[in-house]
Assembly symmetry: C2
Homo-oligomer: 243 residues x 2
């Protein structure tokens, strides 16, 4: 069931579900489907320490990365040097898709905590997709899902105030974590207030104040990076507030 390339040792994590990594899923499915001339994906797993860099903007693109365990962030760098967190990536996410367009990575990827990723060569993946219509469809869906996710974030940035942005961010994280077997009422943020703020177009002080307001309103119990949801409907209501 599990792939020989991605074992679950080395990194201890609260709940690493089997095949959380999309690369592993891909490779597990592969022998079952490829009946003609099987292509072996030369995937390798890679260990990352906290703050370790997976790839860098401008570097040559050659691999996609599946998050097996841990969490990462991707950061875009504007021409003037300002950095911004483009997204956070949980187990099961596929990283590096933005490098396909130009052949060089368009953002930096850095681990928020000790993490385990699976690297799959893009050329080999393309060859495999060409042979496997099922996987071709799967891959296009993954890219499309990323587009939809980005549109959601754009709607936060474009039309919501601080509290609503943070509420939606938390609800989004909850949903994604829950999809991988984590609790639906508690979460441990692996990123700083500053990183959250950078992602949401806010300053860290504003994020902190929003957390305090949520706690005062009885929506959350906040203890540093440990968050417990006390009033989910209330949080949803804040997330849907119009100016």
């Amino acid at each position: 069931m599990t792939s020989p390339f991605c074992t679950e040792d080395e990194i201890s994590h609260a709940a690493v579900t089997p095949l959380a990594c999309p690369v592993c899923q891909l490779m597990a499915l592969q022998p079952a489907v490829s009946l003609g001339r099987p292509i072996r994906l030369q995937a390798t797993r890679q260990r990352l320490r906290r703050h370790g860099q997976l790839f860098q903007a401008g570097a040559q693109f050659g691999h996609l990365y599946g998050v097996h365990a841990g969490q990462l962030k991707t950061c875009t760098t504007a021409p003037d040097g300002r950095q911004q967190v483009a997204g956070f990536h949980l187990p099961g996410d596929l990283l590096g898709l933005d490098g396909i367009a130009s052949g060089t990575h368009a953002c930096d990827a850095m681990a928020l905590e000790d993490s385990l990723v699976c690297a799959v060569p893009y050329a080999g993946l393309m060859d495999l997709l060409a042979q496997q219509p099922e996987m071709e469809r799967w891959f296009c869906k993954v890219m499309s899902a990323q587009l939809v996710r980005d549109q959601r974030v754009m709607s936060w940035l474009g039309g919501m105030r601080a509290d609503a942005r943070l509420a939606n961010f938390l609800l989004d994280m909850l949903r994604r974590l829950q999809a991988h077997g984590f609790s639906g009422v508690a979460l441990v943020l692996r990123m700083t207030r500053e990183e959250i703020g950078s992602h949401l177009g806010l300053k860290l002080e504003t994020v902190s104040r929003a957390f305090s307001r949520f706690q005062a309103a009885g929506l959350l119990a906040v203890n540093q990076r440990d968050i417990r949801i006390l009033n989910l409907d209330g949080l949803r209501q804040v997330g849907g507030q119009v100016p």
Copy 2:
């Protein structure tokens, strides 16, 4: 050279370059590459009047659309009903990619002016891609390029003030139009101030004031929707301003 499905009549447009529509490019390339068993794409062209709707959020996804002539916008609708312009689409752009993920369109698409689009069935396209590695790579690049574009817009919304957002928006439009043979120093906006504002996370009054400031600074000559660039470097400078 040109495809039988997408002729250039019906819509008169300043400069419709041959094969501006990606669907047409696709179909023109097809016979040259597909030597084994050719798959014929059942593409159809579709005429859209100003404010005509191409597809609607929630509607079943089945086709991708290449913009042959004219301009369109896509709008996301938040759960609370607020609408936001997700993007503007020029000749040569491919629309509907966000529907692949879930099988239903994630946004509305509406024509800003009389337009001509080419609809290609997604299932047929997938079949074709499976046979044509070149086209598979091309399609993945198109999706990735859209991801990179969205990341750029996110960086505008998250980290820039009104003037910088508008400057970057104009520079982006110029670049895209120039890539299709239009002038690099003048452009005619097909969208209202309100639509620009919605896309940039600003109110229409703020967009209007920014235009006025640009004109006062000698960067632009603004006449309603006719924009002429007077100082490109100055505009770039505004686009890179830090708070």
